[in-house]
Symmetry: C2
Amino acid sequence: MLAIYHFGPVANSMTPLLGLLEKGLRFEDRYLNSRLWEHHDPAFQKISPEGMVPVLVHDDRVITESTVINEYLDETFPEPPLKPADPYGRARMRIWTKYVDEYFCPALTVLGAQNAKGFASQMTAEEKAAVLARMPNAEVRRKWETVTDQGYSEAELAAARAKLANVARKMEQRLGEGTWMAGDTYSLADIKNYSMAPGLERMLPELVSEQAAPRVFDWLRRMDERPAVKAAKALARPRPQAA
Amino acid sequence: MLAIYHFGPVANSMTPLLGLLEKGLRFEDRYLNSRLWEHHDPAFQKISPEGMVPVLVHDDRVITESTVINEYLDETFPEPPLKPADPYGRARMRIWTKYVDEYFCPALTVLGAQNAKGFASQMTAEEKAAVLARMPNAEVRRKWETVTDQGYSEAELAAARAKLANVARKMEQRLGEGTWMAGDTYSLADIKNYSMAPGLERMLPELVSEQAAPRVFDWLRRMDERPAVKAAKALARPRPQAA
C-alpha cells in the first residue's frame, strides 16, 4: 500500500506526486486542504507529529521530506530509473536537489509569504488565535505569526529576489551542459526543480522568459508536456477556501 | 587520483575526511588555511569558483557539498558500505543528514560566528577591506561583513540556542531507536552528525552532558574511539594564524 498526503501539485507536494506518477505507481491520493488547516488535525499528527507535508506511507512505514521520499521511491521501485546511471551524474543530481531545498525553495517562500499574509488578513483575531493554538511546531507557529503580522521587510524581499536571480542564472548555465538538470538523463533533479520553477516563472517572469533564459524556458515547456506532469496537475483541487 | 581540499577535521570539512578514512582510501591531503584565506586564492577558484570548501577531486572530476561527496564515495568505493542495506534505512539516514545540513549546522554556525567576530576584530580596516575584495561570492561577503561588524543580535543567538536544544533532544530520541543515527548500522548519518556534534558539546555542554543526553554522550565516546576518527583528528594542523 502506497499513500501520499499532499497539498496538491505545487512546491514540495509536487515532488512525490511526480515521483509516483513517473514510476506509474498506484497510490492513494490523500489531499490535505491547507486553507482548512487539515495538516494540523490531531488525526494527521499521528502520522506526521509536526504537521509536515508531504508524507509518504508505504505499508507500515512513514517517510517525510519530499526529496528523500523520491530517492526512496526510486530505490524501492527501480523502473523506470530516475537517477543517472553513473555516480558522478548522481552526485550532480543530488547537488541540484540540495540547492533547491537549501536555497531556491527558501527564497521562493519569502515571496510566496505575501499570499499567506493576504489570506490571514481575512481572518478574525479569534480565528487566528485558534489556528495558532493548534500549530504543532513552535518554530512554524512563530514564523507564521511574524509573516502574517508584519510580513517581510523590503530588504528581505530584495535579498530573496536577488537569490532567485542567481537561481535563474544557474539553471540557465546548467541546461547549457546537458538536456536535463543533471546531464542527459531526466532525473529527480528535474522533478525537484520543476516543483519550484513554475512558481518562479509566475512571480518573477522577467527572470525566466524566452528572452532572459531561453534554455530554462524550453526546459519548462518540455516538462509541461510530460504525461506525469499532466497527470499531477489533474490532481489539483478547486482553490481551497477557509470555512 | 583522489584529493580532498579541506579546513581540517572540523564541521563540514570533517565529513569527507571521515568518508575517505572509513573506506581506507589513499588520498592527497590538501589542507587550506582559512585564517590565511587560502580558499579565496585565484588558484583554488579554478577548482571551486565560489571558494566553497570542502571539495573532492577524483581524477578529472570535481565534487562539492560534503554530504554529496560522501554519497559519491560510498557509491564509487562500496567497501565497507556506509549506508544501511535497505531503502527505508537509507531514507532515515538521508533525513538525518538533511536535518544536519538544513537545521543543525546553520544554528551552530550562528554561535560559531562569535569566533569570526573575535578574529576579525584583530584586523586593520585595510586588511579587512582587502579580504572582502577577494571574496568570490557576494552573499558570503555581505554575510561575513554583517557578522564581523555587528554580530548576531541577542534574539538571533537565543533562537539558535533553542534550535540546538531541539537538535540535542532529537538526537537523544533517535539513539533510543537504534545503536547508530540511522538504526543498527553505522552510516553516513553518524559521520555527518559527528562533524557538528563535538562543536555542540563544546559550546553548549549543558545540552549533551552524560546527565542531559546519556545516549548522545555515549554515542560521542563511541565515535571518538573509531580508528577513522582518530586518523582524521591526526590531520589537524596547529591553530592557523593570520600573517
